[in-house]
Amino acid sequence: MNWHEIGIIEDIPARGARCVTTPQGRIGVFRTAENEIYAIEDHCPHRGGPLSQGIVHGASVTCPLHNWVFSLETGKALGADEGAVKTIPVRVIDGCILLGLESTLMAAE
């Protein structure tokens, strides 16, 4: 597991999300109203919607394409829908956000 610094908490609006691009696909990084940070795959298993662009409520997000709701903690679809996205380990140290990824990556530029 390698830890990659991607920015600080304030880069993400509360009850909002940003995305991080990686060679393995996009990752959505979420900040809840309580300032918890979560990261999940930015790709809805239903039709590939960008979850980082959905509405964030509690520790969950609603996909902007067809309103599937996912738990940010477990990555599992909530309610009647079935499916899951991968969750990515997150550490917050002194306000900096780090993602734990299997491969060795670096920030571009």
């Binding site: 990659h4 991607i6 920015g7 880069d11 993400i12 609006p13 509360a14 009850r15 909002g16 940003r18 995305c19 991080v20 691009t21 990686t22 060679p23 996009r26 990084v29 109203a33 309580e34 039709r47 590939g48 919607g49 960008p50 662009q53 959905g54 509405i55 964030v56 409520h57 509690g58 609603t62 902007p64 394409l65 309103n67 709701v69 990824l101 491969s103 060795t104 990556l105 670096m106 920030a107 571009a108 530029e109």
Partner: protein
Amino acid sequence: MIGREMTAMTEKLVIIGNGMAPGRMLEHLLEAAPGRYEITIFNAEPRVNYDRIMLSPVLSGEKSFEEIVIHGDGWYIANGIMLYKGHRIVAIDREAKTVTSDHGVKEPYDKLVIATGSVPFIIPVSGNDLPGVLTYRDLDDVNAMLLAAQSRQKAVVIGGGLLGLEAAAGLKDRGMEVTVLHVMPTLMERQLDPAAGYLLQRAVEARGIKVVTKANTKQIAGNGRVEGVELDDGTIIPATLVVMAVGIRPNATLAKDAGLTVNRGIVTDDQMRTLDPDIFALGECVEVGGHVYGLVAPLYQMARVAAAALAETGEERFAHVDTPTKLKVTGIDLYSVGDFADGDDREEIVLRDASAGVYKRVVLKDDRIIGTVLFGETADGAWFADLQKKQTDISEMRDTLIFGQAFQGGASADPLAAVAALADDAEICGCNGVCKGKIISTITSKGLTSLNDVRAHTKASASCGTCTGLVEKLMQLSLGASYNPTAIQPMCACTELGHDEVRRLIKAKQLKTIPAVMQELEWKTSCGCAKCRPALNYYLVADWPDEYADDYQSRFVNERVHANIQKDGTYSVVPRMWGGVTSSKELRAIADVVDKFAIPTVKVTGGQRIDMLGIRKEDLPAVWADLGQAGFVSGHAYAKGLRTVKTCVGSDWCRFGTQDSTGLGIRIEKFMWGSWTPAKVKMAVSGCPRNCAEATCKDVGVICVDSGFEIHFAGAAGLDIKGTEVLGLVKTEDEALEVIVALTQMYREQARYLERIYKWAKRIGYDEVRRQVLDDVERRKAFYDRFVHSQKFAQVDPWSERVSGKDKHEFQPMAALSFQQAAE
């Protein structure tokens, strides 16, 4: 001639007072003996009959006066009743059989009904007549309190009974700092035992209202107007408003002057007749069987009895029944009925749940219930009251009695089953004395399907409304799945409240942020969900245009990014083309943007616009920058807002055109762009009835004709197909614009989020829309002005804002990670 003969045969009935009791009596009388009397009413209040028990919700802002009117002006006209408003009767001449009003009107009677009600008790201390000292009795008092509340200063309510506490809660909701003074050690001591009084005090205090018990008022201080209340112990409580709510006494002076027997109230027999056989009395001014009454249920019983006597239809007699007390303060559940004083011959069963704030006490005598006090959980009130009324022997269920009906005889805890298990003669509506059997049989025999119908036919839940839930359950039982209680369809799983209640409470409680709405309306989730947040955000934008800051995180992605998300996560962009008119310069700019950003698809839309599809999110600000250079602003093709105004070429080019439809379309679009609405709004203007702009399937459409502009609304051509309704014909373009703007504003203020105009208009009635925006010119102007005001804050081009850097984070990844280079 015929009229005169009829008059000669008809007896004259005169009623003094126009409160709830005589109003109800008239309903019974008109039903039992229509045309029997020529009826005249003298009302000291300058208005029609209204639901006085609902004054507290008017004070707190949960209802408007119009909503609590029982009989509007039309009712008196339809029933041929002469109503003198603002006339106080000053004398009754029993010899001549006439009454005289303070304006000098003298009216003869054959039968007279005195319903002068009660007057508030004013405590005899100095300063009780200072300006700023009010009572709580009628709409004038409420209006005076509302005026005083605007200062947001301090209020003292003297009296911790039903009325005082409701007044205190209402004033608190209106933003005043409120102290309640109560002379006894616990609140509502006549209806509650000390334990429940204590819980009530805690609940009242939790709402931010100060309570002082054992408080004896020495005097009301002030120089020229009220400044405070001084207690016996010397404490001075500052106040700019003092409300006296220490009780009422029957208003019997007029009857006494006329020589009728008066003790505490006007004495009547059990048919509501005074010692003069042609004079009846009913309501709070009456003493019958040694009792005087202040709650509505016995007053309505008097109304029924008096009507039967006047109609000479039956031998109804008034009989005393204990009436349950309920407090109408939102969020405090309290129920009490009967006698609950301690005594050697009595036993009691008590249940307390401190953490839930629940207290239940049932007082027994000889294995029969004689009193019940419920606090915090009152659903079983009707059941306990029924056991008490029927004198049921409860020894069999003694062990589980206090847990309520759901725990008896294996009945399930399902609330529907509990209602099903109630006996047919169990009272459902205490105010109007309506039992379960009557409601069920009326629903079945009259084929009723809506709550309003049931209220209209049975009166159940039509007064204080606390039994509405029970009535709805009865409807569910009788109608099964066909009953759809749309009135209480919650907004989402985060709340029990429906859209309409939420909208009403946002205004009434002056809630101006999403957290405030969720806190005050007791949302069940910490920060809502993707259904309620965008709705609340819209309601707040619409209701407080100059105060509320749009909550970006509660908007659907399209309205955050100001473009339409596509299935692959790219976006489409539609620049505004006013009225669908464009130019070579604009087309060239679009062509350049398409080339520069390699936009894969360009398409003409149904609304006469050009759509560029497949743009990457990161490119959006640059695309807008180029489009902005050419003079384009956002077309809002993504918004719950004004989308497009489609036009035909009209009188400029068309040989059939009657008016400048293109010009009007552009004018409407330039006036209304940028406004947020509950759902998208599409408009069109056609220059003649051939209707080339297809205006008759739009949310709002205009068909130009020689004589002016025919305005249409409530069309649809999407999931549903529906031709428009005609709103009306106006002569000038200015009028057309004003009506269209007013219609849109009415929709903005009244519809539910995501409800298109055609659904909203069908729900509230096309005539109602016509009435508010076409017939009522003043209201139309007010809608128009409010729209214009809100446009000051809404007409900002979101694209140019974002080109200049707003919400920059939205369009860039937070970070881009790539494989580490071997060299490093």
